[in-house]
Amino acid sequence: MALSDKELNEIAYLARININEDSFPSLKGELEKILDLFEKLNLAETSKVEAMSHPLNLSQPTRPDEVTEEDQREKLQETAPSVKSGLFLVPKVIEGEN
């Protein structure tokens, strides 16, 4: 299955990976191989197979609704690049504003 430049750019954007145009042909080649594999998988007869969301035939264990984690803000923020008044600072991102 052929991949367009536009699709490649979209995939890169969704993954937040910067790619330069030099690498387009090789990336396309690799991704197209993966897509081909999925096309092959799609040919398999699965109408009688129940959908599986996990390979283990077990039920998810649960925990009681209890607070077990103490405040470790100081320790957890030691590795953060930028912190102020207990908040993690990140480049400004505002969704929804024009």
Binding site: E10, Y13, L14, R16, A51, S53, H54, L56, L58, S59, Q60, P61, T62, R63, P64, D65, E66, V67, T68, E69, D71, Q72, R73, L76, Q77, S82, K84, S85, G86, L87, F88, L89, V90, P91, K92, V93, I94, E95, G96, E97, N98
Partner: protein, 482 residues
């Protein structure tokens, strides 16, 4: 109230996010308590540090099963989780754990009551569990955003309705009904101002009779019952205007601005909404055993509809009064204590929905904060019923109870407000009034019947409102006949 052109109809579906009232988060043991200092309730799982794994909170499953039952829906077992992928700083994992193919609650309905007394069935597509994101603060950080992850991982259940709603008023009735249910089940505080219940509205319009749906928009950020009504109303009118002027509707997400009462489009990237859902590999599907579901359903409280029917039967209240009382569990509980104390249901209902509610509204208090407790109000009604005080004096006593917190009998005693039921005392007051108003007496005897009310009023005034009105009427009638 819908004033737009009669040839159009609106098709509305609501997505309601309800924050579940657990102690700890959906997948971690960090506290969900509201109002803590930033990031003091965000543990390594909420922060998505390498190597951590989510562990599901059992209480959340119980809450979802109860909700499913209340929404007349199917409970899916096994139910499974999925990853919804997107990048935003308030979601450290780069994805939200949600549900896609097997939501825990599916295919239900809710009967809502409309203002004209009729009812309408609203389909519930699904209700699924998911984790909340953190909060971004955009002010005062020198061009940067501050991130507080206390809310990240807080359990939410998102209730998605079918597009069965056809007016802003119906949307509000549906939302109120959901609000009432989650409060009854005690699975959420439903506080819209604090964000425990949030609503997005999907709205489209079409010509009446058309089978095809119009292009819809999704309006976010509607955080009160009133705003839901106004935002949808605005959006319906906007879409009709657009189409009638020859434009088309763009499928988009819009934000409601409550100050301007408008909706405006959110900036969205062309392909930003590709969430690439896939089954969550860190969590197994959850099998809900029959026994587990049975145990949970045993804890189901009486729901608003059942309560309403019981009020009609047990207390002989009207449908209207019963549904007003039953809509709010705390109000209904309060009424029942008043009624059981006083043994006078109708009068209790009147006082709870009348004087008491008015006073609560005036001071912006909830029923739990009422300055008069249910038993005290019951005592007041007992004193009306046993004719110690008249209904009019009772209002005076009520005011004093409200401001001082004193007991009914103490106030009646202290202020000398006992109703005068002593016949001879009333007779002497009647005589005094008749003797003191010879002109009116002459006119009355000459046939001016409506002066009877004047005499009653004078006697009540003479008694400072304390005479029993029925006795005053009777004695006056007898005396004026003579």
């Amino acid at each position: 109230m819908t004033i737009y052109n009669k040839s159009w109809e609106a098709v509305i579906g609501l997505e309601i996010h309800v924050q579940l009232a657990t102690n700890s988060k959906l997948f971690s043991g960090a506290s969900t308590h509201f109002g803590a200092l930033p990031n003091t309730q965000a543990c390594n799982i909420d922060l998505a540090l390498p190597g951590v794994l989510p562990v599901l909170n059992a209480e959340v499953l119980k809450m979802a099963v109860k909700l499913g039952k209340a929404l007349n829906a199917n409970i899916n077992t096994p139910t499974s989780f999925a990853r919804k992928n997107y990048f935003y700083p308030d979601s450290p994992k780069g994805y939200q754990i949600s549900q896609m193919d097997k939501p825990i609650v599916e295919d239900g309905f809710l009967d809502i009551e409309l203002e004209d007394g009729s009812s309408k069935k609203i389909g519930i597509t699904r209700a699924h569990l998911e984790e909340d994101a953190g909060k971004s603060l955009h002010e005062d950080f020198e061009g940067q955003s501050g991130i507080d992850l206390n809310r990240a991982g807080t359990p939410l259940i998102e209730i998605v309705s079918e597009p069965d709603i056809s007016s802003p008023a119906e949307a509000v009735a549906y939302l109120k009904s959901i609000h009432s249910i989650i409060r009854y089940l005690e699975i959420s505080d439903g506080n819209m101002a604090e964000g425990s219940m949030r609503c997005d509205a999907n709205v489209s319009v079409r010509k009446i009779g058309s089978k095809e749906l119009g292009t819809r928009t999704e309006t976010k950020n509607v955080n009160s019952f009133r705003f839901v009504e106004k935002a949808i109303q605005f959006e319906i009118e906007r879409q009709i205007d657009e189409i009638e002027t020859g434009n088309t509707i763009t499928q988009e997400t819009r934000l409601y601005d409550s100050q301007l009462n408008t909706t405006r489009p959110m900036r969205t990237k062309e392909f930003a909404n590709d969430y690439r859902y896939f089954p969550e590999p860190d969590l197994l599907p959850v099998v809900l055993e029959d026994k587990f579901i049975e145990e949970v359903l045993k804890e189901m409280p009486e729901m608003p509809d059942e309560k309403k029917c019981r009020f009609v039967n047990e207390y002989d209240l009207s449908e209207y009064d019963s549904s007003l009382l039953a809509a709010d569990k705390d109000l209904a509980d309060f009424f029942e204590i008043v009624s059981k104390t006083s043994k006078a249901a109708k009068l209790s209902a009147n006082w709870v929905m009348g004087e008491l509610s008015a006073e609560l509204n005036k001071e912006n208090l909830t029923i739990q904060d009422s300055k008069i407790k249910a038993k005290q109000l019951g005592q007041l009604i007992i004193r009306i019923e046993d004719t110690t005080i008249s209904g009019k004096i009772a209002k005076e006593v009520f005011e004093k109870m409200w401001s001082t917190g004193d007991e009914v009998d103490a106030i009646i005693e202290k202020e000398g407000l006992q109703q005068v039921t002593d016949l001879s005392e009333i007779e002497s007051m009647v005589n005094k009034v008749i003797d003191g108003n010879p002109d009116q007496l002459k006119q009355y005897l000459a046939g001016k019947d409506r002066l009877f009310g004047f005499f009653v009023g004078q006697v009540m005034k003479e008694s400072q409102g304390k005479a029993n009105p029925a006795q005053v009427n009777q004695i006056l009638k007898e005396r004026l006949k003579e």
